[in-house]
């Protein structure tokens, strides 16, 4: 590890934490329906939307209705994205004249964007028209993120309300998330990114003459290069902010047109964790005990920071086989040292591992380096962060509601140990909540492990694996960890744009989005109906370092116990093989 690298990591964490309170407080005000400094501008728009769509913002609903509305909007989104892809050759804003996308790939991408996974089975610049990108993917980037935030807000109301039947109006939460939170932030970020050189254009792709012609293996001489363009800056902004991650271009933010400079890189990384982190504060503020929010943020950081430093150390340490060959892998003024394979020189090791860790801690999935080329342990960090259930920051909204499910389980076991039937934030945790929270924990494990098990058995699936042995296993495990936790990050090395993976991963994404969202809303409904218990010295405090430790242990233990055998057969043994034989 280099001091300069560590300093960059520290700077990132400090800036992130500094932004938590202002943004978190703003969002709390938005969802409480209070006036904010943007209200004069956005308030009339919001009211206009309600008037046009016939929504009565004062009318609240119970959890089943809320869930129905959320699913409905996602279903419509799915249909829209699917139809846009299948019909894009007939629609405008297709300067390259790209043809219809295949049904399996369209299905995969539609599920992927509706579920906020944004697994990138497609090659954006080669298959998707500008219209599909903007009206399909970019719109879903907003809507899927807004759905996640809305569900979280409903869950928070469940904790706050007493003996209530309603948990809010989905359309209001959904509209406010989009209009007051995602749009203004995206606007600021898009402008900032465009200033750094991220492309924003409707013009067709440009042909550029190469300065130095290339001689290909088949003796053909290449003198020209196609430079893809498009409305990238606006889409990259929401892709980062909404923990979406589906790139405009195939190589995502490693592409110089998506992420040209160290500053754009820093802003994009910041955007990954910004909303998930700030929502912790929003949570604390809305449950009227800010310490509760800080405790959850602390739990996330306690997991995030060591894994970040660990991944950085693993990458900077490089490949022991090179040492054996006498290759100098030490960092110096002349070289970054360590493992630079698959990393962009303009970002280096620290910023590549930071991105990899942040993007998998949050369910973003965008990349600025190829995770497949990381060292075994460096690659295991992003994989395990996803397997933890995307609760360390996680998706916007979904990460925190996932973490709250872990909190419910942690409180349940710990609460017993203080001799009371367990309660969290004054609400008793009973059989129903335990059952629903357990479903939330179980479903992603199910999707990841069963999906991987099928994939390693079916010849159609094993054929897509580029690397043999343990690394090939890691590639498959990584793909299902990503889809089964709605991350969307790809390990690469796996040719996943094949019918098997398009369908299997699509199902994994679908299951682990909605079969988590529904139980979470069920808990929201059940909690809202309960009366609140009084806080006494006999109550388990849930804002203390002790509780943070407990929550972290629960998350890590569940993640470790579920995935250790699989990880042992993938990155762990690969690491041991790499180090054992030199």
């Amino acid at each position: 590890m280099t001091g300069q690298g560590l300093l960059q990591l520290a700077l990132y964490v400090v800036v992130l934490v500094a932004l938590v309170k202002p943004l978190g407080a703003y969002m709390a005000a938005v969802f409480r329906g209070e006036r904010t400094f943007l209200s004069p501008l956005l308030g009339p728009v919001e009211r206009l939307i309600y008037r046009i769509s016939g929504v009565d913002p004062a009318h609240e609903s119970d959890w089943t209705r809320y869930a129905f509305d959320a699913l409905l909007v996602n279903l419509l989104g799915f249909i829209a994205v699917y139809a846009l892809q299948r019909l894009q050759h007939l629609l405008p804003l297709n300067p390259q004249g790209l043809g219809a996308v295949s049904p399996d790939s369209s299905f995969n991408t539609a599920v992927s964007f509706a579920t906020n996974t944004n697994w990138q089975g497609y090659v954006g610049e080669a298959t998707l028209s500008y219209l599909t990108q903007m009206l399909g993917l970019a719109v879903q980037n907003f809507l899927s993120a807004a759905t996640g935030i809305a569900v979280l807000i409903a869950l928070i109301r469940g904790f706050v309300r007493r003996e209530a039947g309603q948990i809010g109006n989905f359309w209001v939460d959904f509209t406010r998330s989009t209009l007051h939170v995602l749009l203004p932030l995206s606007f600021i970020l898009a402008v900032a990114l465009a200033s750094q050189g991220v492309v924003q254009s409707f013009a067709p792709y440009r042909q550029a003459t190469l300065v130095e012609p290339l001689l290909m293996q088949d003796q053909a001489v290449v003198t020209e290069q196609t430079l893809p363009l498009g409305p990238a800056a606006s889409q990259v902004a929401i892709k980062q902010l909404g923990t979406n991650g589906g790139g405009f271009f195939n190589v995502n933010s490693a592409h110089p047109f998506e992420n040209p400079t160290p500053l754009s890189n820093f802003l994009e990384m910041l955007a990954i964790l910004l909303i998930p982190a700030a929502l912790c504060y929003t949570f604390g503020s809305m449950v009227n005990d800010k310490r509760q929010g800080w405790a959850l943020l602390a739990a996330m950081l306690v997991i995030f920071v060591p894994l970040l430093v660990g991944a950085f150390a693993a990458e900077q340490a490089g490949n022991p086989r090179f040492d054996a060959l006498g290759v100098d892998q030490a960092a110096s003024a002349m070289q970054s040292g360590g493992n630079m394979e698959g990393k962009e020189t303009r970002f280096g090791i620290a910023n590549s591992t930071l991105w990899a860790t942040a993007t998998t801690a949050a369910s973003n999935g965008s990349v600025n380096a190829m995770h497949d080329s990381f060292t075994p342990l460096g690659g295991m960090v992003p994989m395990w962060l996803m397997q933890l259930g995307e609760v360390v920051f996680g998706g916007v909204g979904s990460g925190l509601y996932g973490m709250l499910m872990f909190a419910i389980i942690a409180v349940f076991i710990a609460g017993l140990m203080v001799g009371r039937t367990p309660e969290y934030l004054g609400k008793k945790i009973e059989a129903y909540e335990v059952k629903m929270a357990a479903i939330v924990l179980l479903v992603p494990c199910l999707a990841v492990l069963l999906g991987t098990a099928v994939a390693v058995t079916v010849p159609a699936a094993t054929a897509s694996v580029a690397n043999p042995g343990t690394h090939g296993f890691s590639e498959i495990l990584y793909a299902f960890s990503s889809a089964g936790n709605n991350n969307g990050s790809a390990f690469a090395g796996l040719s996943a744009n094949a019918p098997f993976y398009n369908f299997a991963l699509g199902i994994a994404m679908w299951v682990s989005r909605y079969w988590l969202m529904i139980p979470v809303l069920a808990i929201a409904g059940s909690l809202a109906a309960k009366r609140a218990t009084a806080i006494t010295a006999g109550t388990l405090p849930t804002h203390t370092p002790l509780f943070v430790t407990l929550l972290v242990t629960t998350v890590l233990l569940v993640g470790a116990l579920t995935f250790l055998p699989a990880l042992a057969l993938g990155p762990i043994v690969e690491h041991l093989q790499l180090h054992g034989s030199h």
Binding site: I409, F412, I413, A414, L416, M417, V418, G419, R420, T421, G426, E430, A431, E433, V434, K435, A438, I439, L441, L442, C445, L449, L450, A453, V456, T457, T462, P468, G469, T470, G472, F473, T533, A534, T536, A537, G538, T539, L540, P541, T544, L546, L550, T553, L557, V558, A560, L561, T562, F563, L564, P565, A566, A568, L569, I572, V573, L576, Q577, G580
Partner: protein, 692 residues
């Protein structure tokens, strides 16, 4: 208290022997399926046994070494048996008590009345044929045939069969002492009893069912925990089952070794699923109920026992719980111009015929202070005046003197009627005494006011410390008393309760409970009278005194056989202990898994990836011994923890945060570390004996 039930030791020889027998009868799949975690072990045992047999017969060449498979199978069966044993032993203790109770329920003849009065005449019927609302006559030495309510007569009743208390108690119609329990015996006189329960629903039946655990449904929290354990089992099932294809893929792509065998996967699964808590869960529940019974409290449901742990407001009756029960004379305050000895002398004379504890305490105090002996008034001209609600005074007319003691206003009227003058100083004395939380009694000799006797409630020794402990645990104590605010406040301060309800009426009590519940508290109280019934029904945990009325017992969800109001504190403790034990063993069980992974994972894939031996932190001798050691540890830990499950984890009077830190350290960290040591030891033994 004399407890018939408390004598049984935790694990006596006959209980253990019976437990071993029952462990085998519980192998019935219909019994096993009730516990999902142990059912998985049961199926795993069956599967490995069949696999082992097939391997031994040469029919399953890939299953592994037959000796190894069969040994694993044997230890898996032992795991099931150990869990059965834990439950059987817990039940066994209850059964022993139930047998003792049942022996008191002999078939008796009942004298069933044709009408509602003795004169109506009766016929002899079997007690078991009595229905609700039948009316029976019970005469001296008869056994009361069923639970009921006395509607006529007064009798002394021996209730030792139920309570273990040998002193007979008085039962009479009307008032708060009108309930009788089937199986108890009338010692003198007679009673007419209206039967209040149908056969099989009587108190004794409920009690037997409860201690036997026969009717024990799972409690809400137990259900929630079972759900969590089932989900964990499912997660581990997934993690292990998917290892088969993972391992096959690894073998195919690395071209080395053989795929993991089924027996290893079953062993891994059984080690990972929470068998420790799964095997002990029902034993913990039964033992919790049993602890309640041992403290002579019968809960009507397990739910109530669990709720007791949640209680954070205790409504305690002042009398009998906080104070010794009777007010005692504490000081004499003489009026101006009267000596203290003169006052004491008059007070003693006025109290000679007063048989109340208060009266006796005055005689005793006078003797202590001035060596005034209780005098024999035989041969003197005297007439006693008993206390009555009208006069609110008592005293004696002795050789022309008219000595009286009583409430200040009553004595004032008496003195003024005698033609005397009331001294302002006495009013001040009365107020001073009352402000101090004591009861003032004014003594007069004809028209002279002599002074004030201070009657004090004596707060029980140690109760203040007990309340401080409860406060530490987050439990608020509220004293309920019929006294006026002034008196109540003084005693509340002395006893160290958090709050008090003075001049308590049943309505005020009910309103107080509702108010606390509205604030999100769970309230426990105890009561005995019919007028307590609404409050008992409202409270979350309501302990009715066995001496109380049928209405009170019906309204409460627990009955204290000792009729001791202090029991409320014990009840809360038992409830907490039950929950703590569950949580502690769950934590321990899950924490154990870490070590088991480090034992089994390297062993399971040793042939494909020998590099994984780097994870063999315990340096276990061989793959087979590693797996076997983990399985053996997993089985033995259940037996080792049986006493803890039955006894319960000790609760302490500390805050929730302290308790959690302590239990996490002991059971969480302990749960991580202990199996590393245990598995290593077993492995060393296995290697040393050359078994593996």
């Amino acid at each position: 208290m004399t407890a018939t039930h408390a004598g049984t030791p935790a694990l006596s020889r006959p209980i253990v022997l019976q437990g071993i027998r029952d462990s085998f009868t519980k192998l019935d799949p219909r019994v096993q399926v009730r516990n999902p975690v142990m059912f998985v072990v049961f199926v795993g045992s069956l599967f490995t046994t069949v696999l082992g047999a097939a391997a031994a017969l040469g029919m399953a060449p890939d299953a592994g070494r037959p000796g190894f498979v069969l040994t694993i199978a044997a230890w898996l069966w032992l795991t099931v048996l150990f869990a059965n044993f834990a439950e059987a032993v817990a039940e066994g203790r209850g059964k022993a008590q139930a047998a003792a109770l049942r022996s008191t329920r002999k078939e008796v003849q009942a004298k069933k009345l044709k009408g509602r009065r003795v004169e109506d005449g009766h016929t002899l019927v079997q007690a078991s044929s009595l229905r609700r609302d039948d009316v029976v006559l019970v005469e001296a030495l008869d056994v009361i045939p069923a639970d009921g309510e006395v509607i006529d007569g007064v009798a002394s009743v021996d209730e030792s069969a139920i309570t273990g208390e040998s002193a007979p108690v008085l039962r009479e119609s009307g008032g708060d002492f009108n309930s009788v329990t089937g199986g108890t015996r009338v010692l003198s006189d007679w009673l007419v009893v209206r039967v209040t329960s149908n056969p099989g629903e009587a108190f004794l039946d409920r009690m037997i069912a409860m201690v036997e655990g026969a009717k024990r449904g799972k409690t809400p929290n137990e259900i929630a925990l079972s759900i969590l354990l089932s989900f964990l089992t499912l997660v581990f099932l997934l993690a292990t089952v998917t290892l088969a294809p993972f391992s096959r893929f690894a073998v195919a792509s690395s071209g080395a070794g053989t795929a993991v065998t089924a027996v290893v996967l079953v062993a891994l699964l059984v080690c990972l699923i929470p068998t420790t808590i799964g095997g002990l869960l029902s034993a913990i529940g039964i033992a919790g109920m049993d602890r309640m019974v041992r403290s002579n409290v019968i809960a009507t449901s397990g739910r109530a026992v669990e709720a007791a742990g949640d209680v954070d407001v205790l409504l305690l009756d002042k009398t009998g719980t906080i104070t010794l029960g009777d007010r005692q004379a504490a000081a004499f305050h003489a009026a101006p111009g009267v000596t203290e000895q003169e006052l004491a002398d008059a007070a003693q004379l006025a109290s000679l015929a007063d048989e109340t504890p208060e009266g006796r305490s005055i005689v005793v105090l006078a003797k202590q202070r001035f060596q005034l002996r209780g005098r024999d008034l035989a041969g003197t001209m005297h007439e006693f005046h008993k206390f009555s609600a009208q006069t609110r005074m008592s005293g004696v007319d002795l050789e022309g003197r008219r000595l009286r003691k009583g409430a200040a206003d009553a004595v004032r009227r008496f003195v003024e009627a005698e033609g005397g003058a009331w001294a302002v100083a006495v009013t001040q004395q009365v107020e001073t005494v009352a402000r101090g939380g004591a009861t003032p009694l004014v003594v007069a000799d004809g028209k002279r006011v002599l002074g004030v006797i201070e009657l004090r409630d004596i707060v029980k020794g140690g109760i203040r410390e007990r309340f401080a402990e409860l406060r530490q645990m987050g439990i608020k104590t509220v004293m309920v008393t019929g006294d006026n605010r002034l008196t109540a406040a003084a005693i509340a301060a002395e006893a160290g309760v958090d709050d008090f309800l003075a001049e308590a009426t049943p309505e005020a009590k009910l309103a107080l409970i509702r108010r606390y519940q509205g604030e999100g508290h769970l309230v426990a109280m105890c009561g005995d009278g019919t007028n307590d019934a609404p409050a008992l029904a409202q409270a979350d945990v309501a302990v009715a005194m066995n001496s109380g009325t049928q209405a009170a017992k019906e309204a409460g969800n627990m009955v204290d056989l000792d009729s001791n109001p202090t029991k409320l504190i014990e009840v809360v403790d038992v409830g907490k202990q039950l929950l703590v034990t569950r949580g502690a063993l769950t934590t321990f069980s899950i924490a154990n898994d870490v070590a088991k992974y480090f034992a089994i994972i390297p062993a399971a894939f040793a042939t494909t990836y020998p590099q994984l031996d780097a994870l063999n932190l315990m340096r276990l001798a061989s793959p087979e011994s590693a797996i076997l050691a983990a399985v053996i540890f997993n089985a033995l830990i259940i037996v080792v923890l049986v006493p803890l499950a039955l006894r319960g984890v000790k609760t302490r009077a500390v805050s929730a945060a302290h308790l959690l830190r302590r239990n996490l350290l002991v059971f969480g960290l302990g749960g991580l570390v202990v199996p590393f040591i245990g598995i290593k030891l077993i492995d060393v033994l296995l290697a040393a004996t050359g078994w593996i």
